[in-house]
């Protein structure tokens, strides 16, 4: 059968006009099994590369992976063609596959988001998530002090080094916010509730963890587990419905993308943004401008790689959500209005204090600790116990 099919296809190809080889440059984006449509990490990787391809006049292809067994073949298939100026791997799960592919194809330029692959032809783009997490933590701690809540919460995914960056920064930020609140209001320190759910996919785990935190008086919950944030927000929305409120605490803190608009902007106070799109864009830019080098590229507040969500980001990501069909265009104005009302429930001195912390980190006068190993994480936990005995 295949012989006949093959013959038919050969005939078809001969009949078809010879395929013109593209003369312009090409970039490829390889996604992990999560794939597109998460309105966050993967979609931002696509968005950034697409934007760069558009700006620099390149052709872009997107390659998804049906299973984890596809990672290495996808990279090999692309590299074998020798046509791609850059192959970008979005997500640390592709790290093992890229380490092997980079060794097999030393002439091919690669970039990877969130993982460090030690090869001369790989640009490893990592983010200083501790910096924006510190801002979110400070905001949460001061809001808790203002409203008299005893705790702030964070729901994390699998216990991996990347997530330690978030936890370390969040702890530092809460501690900073506690001190600021003590100066301003004279209140005692608030504590931290944190849960590693062990999953980046089980939304129900996020909801359950958030419910437990809300029951213990968390003023807000920071989502550091990708899609689990949907569960976090669901729990917070239900909590508000039960207590009959439409805005104010408890709040939802988004991650990676600007997730403030989720749920029509009612409970998303701020997001710890990790601009995967900026990372992908800068990788393509480096290749185009000839400045591409292997090694680690670290993006933080100063490089615009991370940040706490602002009004302009909200508008950008609302349009992102509308174009993805996740938000109805007619809800745009209501979402912005809800967001403004919710932001207004936090007094101005807190926002000024967050700006102060941001300026301090940018100026280098405030250094946010981070952690890459279990031992380093334990050291940060011991330093900022935040209510734990």
């Amino acid at each position: 059968m295949r012989k006949w099919l093959g013959l038919a296809l050969v005939v078809a190809l001969v009949a078809a006009p010879a395929m013109a080889q593209a003369l312009k440059g090409k970039v490829a984006v390889v996604l992990d099994v999560g794939g597109r449509g998460d309105l966050s990490f993967n979609d931002m990787g696509f968005k950034g590369t697409d934007q760069a391809a558009h700006d620099f006049g390149l052709e872009m292809v997107e390659v998804q992976s049906a299973t984890a067994a596809d990672y290495l073949p996808n990279l090999r298939n692309l590299a074998r063609t020798g046509q791609y100026d850059l192959i970008i791997c979005v997500g640390f799960l592709l790290g093992d596959a890229l380490a092997q592919a980079a060794a097999e194809f030393p002439q091919q330029k690669f970039a990877i988001i969130d993982a460090v692959v030690d090869a001369p032809n790989v640009m490893s783009i990592v983010f200083r998530e501790n910096e924006m997490s510190a801002l979110v933590g400070a905001l949460g701690a001061m809001a808790a002090a203002h409203y008299g809540y005893p705790n702030v919460g964070v729901v994390l995914g699998i216990e991996i080094p990347v997530l330690y960056h978030f936890e370390a920064g969040y702890r530092f930020g809460i501690d900073w916010g506690n001190k600021k609140a003590a100066e301003t209001l004279g209140t005692g320190p608030v504590g931290l509730l944190y849960t590693y759910t062990g999953s980046f996919s089980d939304i129900a785990l996020g909801k359950a963890a958030t419910e437990a935190m809300l029951a213990q008086g968390a003023v807000g919950v920071y989502n550091v587990a990708g899609p689990l944030g949907i569960g976090d927000l669901e729990a917070i929305t239900e909590f508000h419905r039960n207590q009959g409120t439409r805005s104010g605490p408890p709040y939802y803190f988004g991650v990676d993308a600007n997730q403030d608009w989720l749920g029509n902007g009612q409970h998303g106070l701020a997001s710890g943004m990790k601009r995967v799109d900026v990372g992908c864009y800068s990788a393509v830019e480096a290749v185009v401008k000839g400045t591409f080098t292997g090694g680690i590229t670290s993006l933080g507040l100063a490089e615009g790689g991370v940040g706490i969500s602002k009004f302009v980001d909200l508008l950008e990501f609302i349009d992102f959500g509308i174009s993805a069909g996740a938000l109805k265009p007619e809800d745009r104005e209501a979402t912005i209005a809800n967001w403004a009302v919710n932001r207004g429930t936090v007094p101005a001195w807190i926002w000024r204090a967050v700006d102060e912390l941001e300026a301090g980190i940018l100026a280098g006068t405030i250094v946010v600790p981070t952690a890459d190993t279990v031992d380093e994480m334990q050291a940060v936990r011991a330093r900022y116990t935040l209510g734990a005995p």
Partner: protein, 381 residues
Amino acid sequence: MTASEVQPGGRLLRGVHRTLTGLHPALESVLAAVVGLLVGAALMYIWGYDPWKAYWALLRGAYGGSYEIASSIARGVPLVLTALTFSICLRGGMFNIGAEGQVYVGAAAAVCVAYFKLPPGLHLLVGIAFAAVAGAVWSLGPALLKLTRGVHEVISTIMFNWIARFLVFYLVAYVLVDARQGQRTVQIPLSARFPVLVRGTDLSYSVFLAVAFALFVYFLLWHTATGYEVRAAGLTPTAARYGGISIRRTIALSFVLGGIGAGLAGAATTMGLPPTYAIISGLPQLMNLGFDGMAVAMVGRNHPLGILVAALFFGGLNAGGRVMQFYGSNPVPLEMVRVVMGAIVLAMAIPELVRVFPAMAASGRALVRMLSRRKPAEEAA
């Protein structure tokens, strides 16, 4: 316990011996593949893709060279083993859909070899044995439930799949986890890995394991008395019982043998698939191997040799599907690739479905009869 409680259903096998179209079973599978490809082409055309270019990319990506063929075979290796799980039980008259869970358990057992040291060849063999035993043990649950309580295997294997899924989720996250790399289990050491057969591809020596198991199953079912008993019990359980065959024994045997096959698929995907050699949290490299195996079994007409060919076809679809994503100026996104694959699987399943629901065929025939009878009446009026 009455005999009817443990009776396997002989009706299941009707399709293996009698085809819907009257064609030879192999030809019917080919026909279904062609129909599926045509449906896929129509879908791609409707959504604005060029079907010919896409299929050319698929064909080249699947069988266009030694690298491509090796990739396709590598993708088909676990599917051969899970397809055999389904087919052995179907030949024995049971509808066993427990391969999925048995793959998980087998993979988890294979990873356990990382905790001790052995000489290279032996380490690999011990890993294979672990996986086979784990798969077999997991299949004993549904088998014993059927034998002692008369629980239908469709229900129990679905349940056992879920139990296996969450059990292995737990093992991966908390027990077998690599302390430095929390997203996966500890890695299987070099001494317990299948060596790569074709450099620069995924194809490892695990392919010989799959082929050997397929040939073993073929020999057992068609060239031994035990295999004859299994097939006889599957075809007509009552006659087989009358002939002195212990149906309880054939049920247990086909379940355990199937469990071994699925367990080996778990071993092949963890010990024989670069670059990770570990189970990743969320099991993204194991998901659906068991269910895809059922499609392979169906296309392969539940015959070990047919399954080998069908697995090469499905492996090619998967490997070629990866290439379809970036080939040409208007490449087909993965979602569309999967729709095309779905169309092919569906076309393959139609003859099978019609057989499973004979009532459908009967009502179709009745409708035709009714219409043809009305016609003369209308003409008369």
